[in-house]
């Protein structure tokens, strides 16, 4: 079922959290609401499932206007960050809860609970209580409870935040598998870009209550619309260098290089102040478009090594290189920038697109 938010706004008292947000999630699609904490992504989620009242705008499930419906009347499954299991009920009863509320027959409930717990490999847990389960097991129960009533929409609020690292990896693929099997339109709220990129079809990146860009993970990474997106997506993060355009060249005190061909035609005036974003993988040993600086930090990540390069004017570049370590701390090196991959931003932090 398609979800459509039209000019959705939400304010708490006089504090406007979200203003005129538009978002469409296609049928069966899984989209991530990604953003730093406090950007309004959980608020949006709560408004979609009806926990929060909508201040203005409309929310549509398919053709049905559900803006004013209370959560009880929407068929939405929600997985909460804290899992929110009912502590006094057994796992079986936890999963059966939405069905019991609908007064379904005991036999049906039994069949559905068995079915969903088989899908989630947790049949052996049904007699226990939430307090006796580990975090990962509780997560499965929360997911089962959200899915057992065959919801129109599945909403997940930071579902992996309370799990340890290895479980997170496991549950990532698990959730994606279940979502694809059920074909349930889903929204995942997360502040973790890796989670968003690995689990979802598309990402809606939010900041300060505004969706900055909606797109596939690849889109976001290679074609960010503004500086915030470029800075948020990518780990280790992109580095920005402030400078200006002069005579077809980007110049700052610490470095300069010729503009790539496709950008020369863009509306860049000489003397315009710009900021360039250079991702760590685009600064590598080489001689083309050289940049010189001092290595101030080295971090081995196993397969790759991360370097910080301090330029003449004090600005920093990051480089990630595979293979053996080529230099040591304090060395002066000259490395090469892949100019065609450099992202240009104007003074308003908007991306300067190639012509």
């Amino acid at each position: 079922m398609e979800i459509k938010l039209e000019k959705f706004s939400k304010s708490f008292g006089s504090v406007k959290v979200i203003e005129e947000l538009d978002l469409t999630v296609g049928n069966g699609e899984m989209i991530a609401l990604l953003g730093p904490s406090g950007c309004g992504k959980t608020t949006t989620l709560y408004a979609i499932c009806g926990i929060h009242r909508v201040s203005a705008g409309r929310i549509l499930f398919g053709d049905r206007d559900v803006t004013a419906l209370p959560p009880q009347e929407k068929n939405v499954g929600v997985v909460f960050q804290s899992f929110a299991l009912y502590p006094h009920l057994s796992i079986y009863e936890n999963i059966a809860f939405p069905l019991r509320i609908r007064k379904e027959k005991n036999a049906d409930i039994e069949r559905k609970v068995r079915e969903i717990s088989a899908t989630l490999y947790m049949e052996h847990l049904l007699e226990r209580r939430p307090g006796q389960l580990s975090g990962g097991q509780q997560q499965r129960v929360a997911l089962a409870r959200a899915l057992v009533r065959r919801p129109d929409i599945l909403l997940m609020d930071e579902p992996l935040a309370n799990l340890d690292a290895s479980l997170r990896l496991e549950m990532r693929t698990e959730i994606r598998r279940i979502q694809q099997e059920s074909g349930c339109t889903s929204i995942l709220v997360t502040h973790d870009q890796v989670e968003a990129m690995s689990m979802c079809d598309r990402i809606a990146l939010m900041n300060n209550g505004v969706i900055q860009q909606i797109g596939t993970p690849d889109d976001m990474y290679h074609q960010p619309r503004n500086k915030f997106i470029a800075g948020f997506i990518g780990n280790p993060p992109i580095s920005f260098i402030d400078g200006a355009v002069e005579n077809g060249q980007f110049t700052s005190q610490g470095m300069s290089f010729g503009l790539p061909d496709n950008l020369k035609k863009a509306s860049l005036t000489s003397g315009q102040k710009v900021s360039v974003g250079i991702r760590p993988e685009h600064l590598q040993p080489g001689s083309e478009n050289p940049v010189a600086g001092e290595v101030t930090f080295i971090e081995s990540q196993g397969r790759e090594i991360l370097y910080d390069l301090k330029l003449g004017d004090g600005q920093m570049l990051r480089s990630i290189q595979s293979g053996a370590r080529t230099c040591k701390l304090g060395d002066r090196v000259t490395w090469s920038i892949n100019v065609n991959a450099v992202l240009f931003f104007d003074a308003q932090d908007e991306r300067i697109l190639p012509a």
């Binding site: 926990i51 909460f80 006094h88 009920l89 509320i101 307090g131």
Partner: protein
Amino acid sequence: MRRLRSFLPLWFMLPASVIVTLFFVIPVFMTFAFSFTTMSSDTGVLGNRYIVSEATLLKLKELNIDPVLVASLGEIRFVFDDTNLKNISQLNLKPSLLKEINTKLKNKVFATEKKLYAALKTLKNRPRSFKDRKAISKATVSSMMNKEFLTADEFSQGLVSVGINLDAPAFNQLLELTNTSWHWTTDNYAELMASDFTLKILGNTLFYVFCTLFFNVGFALLLALATFYMPSGQSKIFRALWLIPRISPSVIYVLLWKWFTFDSGFMSHFLSSFGFTPQDWLKEFPWVFVILANGFVGASMGMLIFSSAIVAIPGDVLRAAEVDGAYPLQQIRRIILPLLAWPILFVTSYQTLSLLTSFEYILLLTDGGPGFFTTETWALNAYHTALSNYFGNLRYGFGATLAVVLVVVGIILSLLYLRLFDFKKLVTEPQIET
């Protein structure tokens, strides 16, 4: 958590220990001990007392003791013994008269005032004025009646002084009959079992406790749940309002109930406009108001505890219930009430015990009436029996027996509650923390 290892904290607790011992521990043991005695205001709490009272005279008559002796015990005499002569010397009499009394009337006993006056007339320096004669009469009047004697010797001296002389067996019999001191007995318990009132008061108590408890806990839950689903500003005001019964003095509070219910009070006034005859509603339906007055006061504590317990339920759990389709009533029945099991147990048991033992509102409102034992509960009856008996003696021993029964019932009830609510399971922590 590290615990202290020295005895220092015990010293800090000393003042509290003293208070607990003085006001709670010792009284409990003394009550238990008193319940096996015949103590009353007749016997006093201290040791031996020999008193000739109206009751003694009646008992003597029943036992067919010499009627002359019985009569003389009850009569007043005019006695010129050493103490009384001393009293006379204090009077403002002529020295010559005093001297004559001291010599001629010493150790004389007169049965009536008339005989005394006749004897005075025979004196040379006889008192001229009626006032003087009366003063002498007053200074010499003596009686065995209602006098306290601490020992058998004093008692025998007392008898001699009013002119009663007894042989040893008769004296011993009288001594035994007039000894009012208490003694050890299990009769109190036997009396309790046999008394017709026991069942009546027990019934009253059960009715009072269960009705008030039901109203109390139910109303507290209702308030807590209602305020939970209210907008927060309104619920704050409402909760604050419900604390007023806690801080209003019980005497004033009960007075307001009396004003509310009496035959020209608010209720009669209000109902008369619907055609009801004004009447004293408290006298008509005493239980209703006893239960309401107690219930409303008690509800505020339960409300506070339930409110905080509901707020302590993680918000996500209730949100989950909402999106799972549960409307407030279903949330209450399936989520909130089960999660409140422990606070409900606590409030119920706490209130049961305090209702069993507290009686101040009934005392102030109906004092066990109207009529005979209509709203008399066990605790109130213990108080009435031991400390505020309208009908006669204060029966400390029997009152203590009633109190001991109350303590035992309280303990049994607490154990029962813990059993019922599966206390151990409630306090056991989950094996794995999230």
